[in-house]
Symmetry: C2
Subunit: 116 residues, 2 copies
Protein backbone atom coordinates (compact mmCIF):
# COMPACT_ATOMS: atom_id res chain seq x y z
CA UNK A 1 0.00 0.00 0.00
CA UNK A 2 1.32 3.47 -0.78
CA UNK A 3 2.25 5.52 2.30
CA UNK A 4 -0.37 8.01 1.21
CA UNK A 5 -3.26 5.53 1.62
CA UNK A 6 -2.13 4.60 5.12
CA UNK A 7 -1.95 8.31 6.01
CA UNK A 8 -5.50 8.80 4.76
CA UNK A 9 -6.73 5.84 6.79
CA UNK A 10 -5.13 7.28 9.93
CA UNK A 11 -6.84 10.60 9.18
CA UNK A 12 -10.17 8.77 9.00
CA UNK A 13 -9.35 6.98 12.25
CA UNK A 14 -8.71 10.35 13.91
CA UNK A 15 -11.89 11.74 12.41
CA UNK A 16 -13.85 8.86 13.97
CA UNK A 17 -12.27 9.48 17.37
CA UNK A 18 -13.26 13.13 17.12
CA UNK A 19 -16.78 12.50 15.84
CA UNK A 20 -19.90 13.24 17.88
CA UNK A 21 -21.01 9.62 17.41
CA UNK A 22 -17.82 8.24 18.92
CA UNK A 23 -17.87 10.70 21.82
CA UNK A 24 -21.47 9.68 22.59
CA UNK A 25 -20.67 5.97 22.33
CA UNK A 26 -17.68 6.36 24.65
CA UNK A 27 -19.78 8.30 27.15
CA UNK A 28 -22.59 5.71 27.19
CA UNK A 29 -20.17 2.79 27.30
CA UNK A 30 -18.29 4.27 30.23
CA UNK A 31 -21.55 4.99 32.05
CA UNK A 32 -22.61 1.36 31.74
CA UNK A 33 -19.17 0.09 32.78
CA UNK A 34 -19.21 2.33 35.86
CA UNK A 35 -22.52 0.86 37.07
CA UNK A 36 -22.10 -2.65 38.43
CA UNK A 37 -25.61 -3.94 37.75
CA UNK A 38 -25.75 -2.36 34.27
CA UNK A 39 -22.32 -3.76 33.44
CA UNK A 40 -23.30 -7.27 34.52
CA UNK A 41 -26.55 -7.14 32.56
CA UNK A 42 -24.76 -5.79 29.48
CA UNK A 43 -22.07 -8.46 29.57
CA UNK A 44 -24.68 -11.15 30.07
CA UNK A 45 -26.57 -9.82 27.02
CA UNK A 46 -23.35 -9.77 24.96
CA UNK A 47 -22.48 -13.34 25.94
CA UNK A 48 -25.88 -14.60 24.84
CA UNK A 49 -25.67 -12.70 21.54
CA UNK A 50 -22.16 -13.95 20.77
CA UNK A 51 -23.08 -17.53 21.62
CA UNK A 52 -26.08 -17.44 19.27
CA UNK A 53 -24.03 -15.78 16.53
CA UNK A 54 -21.37 -18.45 16.82
CA UNK A 55 -23.96 -21.22 16.64
CA UNK A 56 -25.51 -19.60 13.58
CA UNK A 57 -22.16 -19.20 11.82
CA UNK A 58 -21.07 -22.76 12.52
CA UNK A 59 -24.47 -24.13 11.53
CA UNK A 60 -25.36 -25.50 14.98
CA UNK A 61 -28.98 -25.85 15.94
CA UNK A 62 -30.47 -23.06 18.07
CA UNK A 63 -33.05 -24.41 20.48
CA UNK A 64 -36.47 -22.91 21.17
CA UNK A 65 -35.34 -22.25 24.76
CA UNK A 66 -32.30 -20.31 23.55
CA UNK A 67 -34.46 -18.14 21.30
CA UNK A 68 -36.78 -17.41 24.21
CA UNK A 69 -33.89 -16.66 26.56
CA UNK A 70 -32.42 -14.24 23.99
CA UNK A 71 -35.76 -12.49 23.50
CA UNK A 72 -36.21 -12.09 27.26
CA UNK A 73 -32.73 -10.63 27.59
CA UNK A 74 -33.33 -8.16 24.76
CA UNK A 75 -36.60 -7.05 26.36
CA UNK A 76 -34.81 -6.66 29.69
CA UNK A 77 -31.89 -4.57 28.41
CA UNK A 78 -34.19 -2.39 26.31
CA UNK A 79 -36.00 -1.37 29.48
CA UNK A 80 -32.72 -0.46 31.15
CA UNK A 81 -32.18 3.23 30.43
CA UNK A 82 -28.37 3.17 30.49
CA UNK A 83 -28.04 0.06 28.35
CA UNK A 84 -30.65 1.18 25.84
CA UNK A 85 -28.79 4.50 25.53
CA UNK A 86 -25.60 2.56 24.87
CA UNK A 87 -27.33 0.39 22.27
CA UNK A 88 -28.68 3.49 20.54
CA UNK A 89 -25.18 4.99 20.49
CA UNK A 90 -23.80 1.70 19.10
CA UNK A 91 -26.44 1.76 16.39
CA UNK A 92 -25.56 5.34 15.34
CA UNK A 93 -21.83 4.55 15.30
CA UNK A 94 -22.54 1.43 13.27
CA UNK A 95 -24.41 3.51 10.64
CA UNK A 96 -21.37 5.79 10.31
CA UNK A 97 -18.96 2.87 9.97
CA UNK A 98 -21.29 1.18 7.47
CA UNK A 99 -21.37 4.37 5.38
CA UNK A 100 -17.59 4.66 5.50
CA UNK A 101 -17.22 1.03 4.50
CA UNK A 102 -19.61 1.43 1.57
CA UNK A 103 -17.72 4.49 0.32
CA UNK A 104 -14.33 2.84 0.66
CA UNK A 105 -15.34 -0.42 -1.05
CA UNK A 106 -17.03 1.45 -3.94
CA UNK A 107 -13.99 1.12 -6.24
CA UNK A 108 -14.14 -2.70 -5.96
CA UNK A 109 -17.87 -2.72 -6.51
CA UNK A 110 -17.45 -0.58 -9.62
CA UNK A 111 -14.91 -3.03 -10.96
CA UNK A 112 -16.75 -6.26 -10.20
CA UNK A 113 -20.25 -5.02 -10.90
CA UNK A 114 -21.64 -6.07 -7.53
CA UNK A 115 -19.15 -7.13 -4.88
CA UNK A 116 -15.45 -8.02 -4.97
CA UNK B 1 -22.01 11.57 10.55
CA UNK B 2 -20.21 14.87 10.36
CA UNK B 3 -19.63 16.11 6.79
CA UNK B 4 -15.94 16.00 7.56
CA UNK B 5 -15.90 12.21 8.06
CA UNK B 6 -17.72 11.64 4.76
CA UNK B 7 -15.20 13.90 3.02
CA UNK B 8 -12.35 11.89 4.50
CA UNK B 9 -13.94 8.63 3.37
CA UNK B 10 -14.27 9.96 -0.19
CA UNK B 11 -10.62 10.97 -0.06
CA UNK B 12 -9.72 7.39 0.90
CA UNK B 13 -11.95 6.11 -1.92
CA UNK B 14 -10.07 8.31 -4.37
CA UNK B 15 -6.78 7.18 -2.91
CA UNK B 16 -7.76 3.57 -3.53
CA UNK B 17 -8.73 4.32 -7.12
CA UNK B 18 -5.34 5.94 -7.65
CA UNK B 19 -3.33 3.23 -5.88
CA UNK B 20 -0.94 0.92 -7.71
CA UNK B 21 -2.85 -2.07 -6.27
CA UNK B 22 -6.14 -0.93 -7.75
CA UNK B 23 -4.59 -0.11 -11.13
CA UNK B 24 -3.07 -3.59 -11.25
CA UNK B 25 -6.32 -5.27 -10.20
CA UNK B 26 -8.27 -3.35 -12.85
CA UNK B 27 -5.71 -4.28 -15.50
CA UNK B 28 -5.78 -8.00 -14.64
CA UNK B 29 -9.56 -8.05 -14.29
CA UNK B 30 -10.04 -6.42 -17.68
CA UNK B 31 -7.54 -8.83 -19.27
CA UNK B 32 -9.53 -11.83 -17.98
CA UNK B 33 -12.86 -10.30 -19.03
CA UNK B 34 -11.50 -9.65 -22.55
CA UNK B 35 -10.57 -13.33 -23.02
CA UNK B 36 -13.59 -15.54 -23.50
CA UNK B 37 -12.16 -18.78 -22.18
CA UNK B 38 -10.49 -17.08 -19.19
CA UNK B 39 -13.71 -15.20 -18.40
CA UNK B 40 -15.78 -18.38 -18.49
CA UNK B 41 -13.33 -20.26 -16.29
CA UNK B 42 -13.15 -17.35 -13.83
CA UNK B 43 -16.94 -17.04 -13.57
CA UNK B 44 -17.26 -20.77 -13.10
CA UNK B 45 -14.66 -20.62 -10.32
CA UNK B 46 -16.51 -17.69 -8.67
CA UNK B 47 -19.85 -19.51 -8.82
CA UNK B 48 -18.41 -22.57 -7.11
CA UNK B 49 -16.77 -20.42 -4.42
CA UNK B 50 -19.95 -18.43 -3.74
CA UNK B 51 -22.09 -21.57 -3.60
CA UNK B 52 -19.76 -23.17 -1.04
CA UNK B 53 -19.59 -19.94 0.98
CA UNK B 54 -23.36 -19.71 1.08
CA UNK B 55 -23.68 -23.33 2.19
CA UNK B 56 -21.10 -22.74 4.91
CA UNK B 57 -22.83 -19.57 6.15
CA UNK B 58 -26.27 -21.17 6.24
CA UNK B 59 -24.93 -24.30 7.88
CA UNK B 60 -25.73 -26.64 4.98
CA UNK B 61 -23.70 -29.77 4.54
CA UNK B 62 -20.89 -29.63 1.97
CA UNK B 63 -20.46 -32.97 0.24
CA UNK B 64 -17.18 -34.74 -0.43
CA UNK B 65 -17.85 -34.33 -4.17
CA UNK B 66 -18.27 -30.58 -3.79
CA UNK B 67 -14.97 -30.30 -1.91
CA UNK B 68 -13.23 -32.28 -4.65
CA UNK B 69 -14.85 -30.21 -7.41
CA UNK B 70 -13.73 -27.00 -5.67
CA UNK B 71 -10.16 -28.28 -5.27
CA UNK B 72 -10.03 -29.27 -8.94
CA UNK B 73 -11.27 -25.84 -9.99
CA UNK B 74 -8.72 -24.04 -7.79
CA UNK B 75 -5.92 -26.19 -9.26
CA UNK B 76 -7.20 -25.41 -12.75
CA UNK B 77 -7.42 -21.62 -12.35
CA UNK B 78 -4.04 -21.47 -10.59
CA UNK B 79 -2.47 -22.95 -13.71
CA UNK B 80 -4.15 -20.32 -15.88
CA UNK B 81 -1.68 -17.46 -16.15
CA UNK B 82 -4.25 -14.67 -16.60
CA UNK B 83 -6.54 -15.85 -13.82
CA UNK B 84 -3.71 -16.51 -11.39
CA UNK B 85 -2.42 -13.00 -12.10
CA UNK B 86 -5.89 -11.65 -11.32
CA UNK B 87 -6.08 -13.68 -8.12
CA UNK B 88 -2.69 -12.36 -7.05
CA UNK B 89 -3.87 -8.79 -7.72
CA UNK B 90 -7.06 -9.49 -5.72
CA UNK B 91 -4.97 -10.80 -2.86
CA UNK B 92 -2.79 -7.66 -2.78
CA UNK B 93 -5.83 -5.36 -2.95
CA UNK B 94 -7.45 -7.36 -0.18
CA UNK B 95 -4.38 -6.84 2.06
CA UNK B 96 -4.66 -3.08 1.51
CA UNK B 97 -8.39 -3.03 2.29
CA UNK B 98 -7.83 -5.23 5.35
CA UNK B 99 -5.18 -2.83 6.62
CA UNK B 100 -7.48 0.15 6.04
CA UNK B 101 -10.31 -1.61 7.82
CA UNK B 102 -8.12 -2.46 10.81
CA UNK B 103 -6.96 1.16 11.10
CA UNK B 104 -10.47 2.57 10.80
CA UNK B 105 -12.04 0.18 13.32
CA UNK B 106 -9.24 0.77 15.86
CA UNK B 107 -11.24 3.37 17.85
CA UNK B 108 -14.02 0.81 18.49
CA UNK B 109 -11.51 -1.86 19.42
CA UNK B 110 -9.87 0.53 21.88
CA UNK B 111 -13.23 1.22 23.49
CA UNK B 112 -14.49 -2.36 23.74
CA UNK B 113 -11.18 -3.99 24.52
CA UNK B 114 -11.40 -6.50 21.70
CA UNK B 115 -14.11 -5.99 19.08
CA UNK B 116 -17.20 -3.76 19.04
CA1 LIG C 1 -32.83 6.37 25.29
CA1 LIG D 1 1.67 -14.69 -11.91
Amino acid sequence: MSVNLYDLAYTVENGIRQSAEYAELKKQYEAVMADESARTMFHNFRDIQLKLQEKQMTGQEITEEEVQQAQKTVALVQQHEMISNLMEAEQRMSVVLGDLNRIITKPLEDLYGTQG
